[in-house]
Every structure is written in structure tokens, then in C-alpha cells.
């Protein structure tokens, strides 16, 4: 979706979105010179609004939180891969043991 649709869905001004993008909290794709937002960007925007409106977190706080959240998801992905790899190895080991 474009700037206008994105802002309308969230009920915020474009200037607010500019701040989020400048801070790097939201990173929309650019296409033919204009921005394109995805649903993941929308969900992040809602999180930013929850933090700053409902939880009273200031700009510096939002900045730290968004960065840590991205780190957590990075770590979650590594753990997930490690677990699936382990399951794999278990299966392969099983099949090797069963085979004479």
C-alpha cells in the first residue's frame, strides 16, 4: 500500500510516518520513487503506536525496544533452525541405526 492508504489505516499524519522511517523503525520498500508498505510494516506501526500512546514509552525507548525486538526475532530464527536441524540429525541417526 502507498503512503495515503497506510496513513489512513493507522489514522496518523504522513509527518509521523516520516519520523518512524527516519528512525529506521519502519523500512518500506521503494518502488518507482514511491514507498510501498507491507502488512508487516503495518503491524510494526501498530506496535510503535501501542508503545508510544498506550505504554507511555518515549522516542528513545521505542528505538531501543524496536532494535531489541528485531534481535529477538533473529535469535528465535537461529534457535528454530537449530531445533529443526537437530530433529533432522535424530531422524538420520535413527535410520542409520536401524539399517544393519
Amino acid at each position: 500500500m502507498n503512503d495515503i492508504e497506510f496513513c489512513a489505516q493507522l489514522g496518523v499524519e504522513v509527518t509521523v510516518i516520516e519520523v518512524w522511517i527516519n528512525e529506521g523503525w519502519i523500512r518500506p520498500e521503494t518502488f518507482e520513487g514511491s514507498r510501498a508498505f507491507r502488512l508487516a510494516d503495518m503491524a510494526r506501526a501498530r506496535l510503535i503506536m501501542d508503545l508510544s500512546h498506550h505504554m507511555g514509552v518515549n522516542e528513545a525507548g521505542v528505538d531501543v525496544i524496536m532494535d531489541l525486538i528485531d534481535q529477538i526475532h533473529g535469535l528465535r530464527r537461529v534457535i528454530e533452525s537449530a531445533m529443526s536441524e537437530r530433529a533432522h540429525l535424530d531422524d538420520e541417526l535413527d535410520s542409520l541405526i536401524k539399517k544393519p
Partner: protein, 303 residues
């Protein structure tokens, strides 16, 4: 939902608005699903807290609740997707990917352990590993199909045929184009995750495409032929006289190729636009016309 909002927020019935706000903030920080990415229950708890706050956080609503005029059901939260729902499916190389949390681990070591045999098949038999790539293509290339290249880490270009009708997020598998296998065993595959850039005016809807078509007042009133862009060139479409804004027309077979060889459709939504600058002749004409008019387009809204 019939629980007591005071109980949910853990405040007394005579708590001040300030107490309620700080109780809500405390709980929201604790239970927000994005701050608890692995806890499935957090979402329900957060919904309850938000609903309770919806009532107690608003002095008017709180009074009405106290008088028994409203209950918690009025404050039910709309279903909503949290960022964590997307973060887990974000592709590698996505804009929010952040590896600082494990950057001090030996990356080569970590990833060779974790990802090298991701495909799993024949890890012990010496087959080559699958290689994963991500590429972006234009909307029209995805619809019409094209041939392009990706560059492997060693600089070798790999030709990729994008089939027509490729959708965003689709993975193309190029057999035998992955890492070479050990001692004569087959090479792995190259897996390419395709991302489709959005188009300026076409919007993909499964196998169909939607487009909003601006038309002039005279085209709307008098009808006639208009040019319509389609993913493979413009075509003529005939408008009936009195074609309204919002009217949807279907151009059969002008959508996206399906697997069975058929094609989806192009849905055209009309949008009447005024000339860029005010036109005195038009203003005068409409002025005369409006005097004899009693048409209220907002009648159904009761205003």
C-alpha cells in the same frame, strides 16, 4: 467476555483515572504479544486488558459501566495481527533482519552447522547442499514471465526462468544448481525466493488483477470507448452512457495465467475525475443544470 474490568486491571472500584492508566500501562507492557513473541496466551490476555481499559480508561464509559448500562462485550477488541506473526515468516535478507544478537558467535561456524544441510536429503551421502537466494522482480515480469539472472556468491550468473503468473513469495527450484556434491554425488538445488515489487496501478488479487481507471465526466455521462491498460498492452473498452464512479467492469482473460493454462480476469473500477483546472464552461453548464436538480446522492445515509 463477561469478566469484571476492575478485576482484570487489578484496581479498586474507586481507583482514580490515573491509577487505572498506570495499571493498564503496567499490564500492557507485560502482556503485549510483540513483547512476548513466544507466548501464545499473551494475545488473549492483552485483548482482555485492552478491552477493560477501553471502558475504564474513558471516564464517561466507566460511569456508564458502573451504572450497569454497558458491559465488557461492547469493548471487544477487533482481531488484529501483531508484528510477531510476520516476523517469524519474514524471509532471510528482509528489511528487519538483525543478527546482532548472535554476531559474536563464529558466523561461518554457526551457519555451516545450522543451514548447510537444510534440505536434509542425503546429508550423509555426499549430495551437494541446497543454496538459497532471494530476488526481486517487477510486477509485470511476474505476471507475464521473463528470464533473468541471479549472481552466485562466486560471481557466476545463473539464468532463472520466471514463469508467467509467479506470485510474491514463491520459491523457484533449479535442480542441480546448488553446491556440488562430494565424489560424484549429485549437486544440490538452488532455491530462489521471488519477491514481486508492487505496481503503480495494478493490484494482484490471486489470479485476477484490479485497476482503478480514471474517466472524465463526459466519458461517464455519454459513454464511449476508453483505453484501458492491461499487463500485456492497452485495450479498448466501451463504456455505456451513464457509467458511474465505483462501477466495476470485467475484462475476461486479461488477468494472470493460471496453472491450468486459463487466465484470470482484469477488474476495472471506474473513477470519475474532474479536469485538472476549473473550467469556466463546465462550471456554467453544471450551474444551469443544478438549478433544475433535486438529486440527493446521500439519501441512503439519511442526511
Amino acid at each position: 467476555m463477561s469478566r469484571d474490568p476492575y478485576e482484570i486491571l487489578g484496581v479498586k472500584r474507586d481507583a482514580s483515572q490515573k491509577d487505572i492508566q498506570s495499571a493498564f500501562r503496567k499490564l500492557a507492557k507485560k502482556y503485549h504479544p510483540d513483547l512476548n513473541p513466544g507466548d501464545k496466551k499473551a494475545e488473549d490476555q492483552f485483548k482482555d486488558i485492552s478491552a477493560a481499559n477501553e471502558i475504564l480508561g474513558d471516564e464517561e464509559k466507566r460511569k456508564r459501566f458502573d451504572r450497569g448500562e454497558i458491559d465488557m462485550t461492547g469493548a471487544e477488541q477487533h482481531p488484529r495481527n501483531f508484528y510477531r506473526d510476520y516476523a517469524s515468516t519474514e524471509s532471510s535478507g528482509g528489511p528487519y533482519q538483525n543478527s546482532s544478537g548472535f554476531a559474536d558467535f563464529d558466523a561461518d561456524d554457526l551457519f555451516s552447522t545450522l543451514f548447510s544441510r537444510r534440505a536434509g536429503r542425503g546429508a550423509f551421502h555426499g549430495n551437494g547442499a541446497d543454496l538459497h537466494f532471494r530476488m526481486e522482480i517487477d510486477f509485470l515480469d511476474a505476471v507475464n514471465g521473463t528470464t533473468t539472472s541471479v549472481y552466485l556468491p562466486d560471481g557466476v550468473a545463473l539464468e532463472v526462468k520466471i514463469p508467467s503468473g509467479t506470485h510474491d513469495g514463491q520459491t523457484l527450484r533449479l535442480r542441480g544448481k546448488g553446491a556440488p556434491g562430494a565424489s560424484g554425488e549429485p549437486a544440490g538445488d538452488a532455491l530462489i525466493e521471488v519477491h514481486v515489487r508492487p505496481h503503480r496501478f495494478f493490484v494482484r488479487d490471486g489470479d485476477d488483477i484490479r485497476v482503478e481507471l480514471p474517466i472524465s465526466i463526459s466519458e461517464a455521462v455519454l459513454g464511449g470507448k476508453v483505453r484501458v491498460p492491461t499487463p500485456n498492452g492497452a485495450v479498448d473498452m466501451t463504456l455505456k452512457p451513464h457509467s458511474n464512479s465505483g462501477m466495476m467492469l470485467r475484462l475476461k482473460g486479461k488477468g494472470v495465467a493460471k496453472r491450468n493454462g486459463e487466465k484470470g480476469d482484469l477488474y476495472v473500477t471506474l473513477k470519475i475525475v474532474l479536469p485538472d483546472k476549473p473550467d469556466p464552461q463546465l462550471t456554467e453548464l453544471i450551474g444551469t443544470w443544478a438549478q433544475s436538480q433535486a438529486h440527493n446522492p446521500r439519501e441512503q445515509m439519511g442526511v
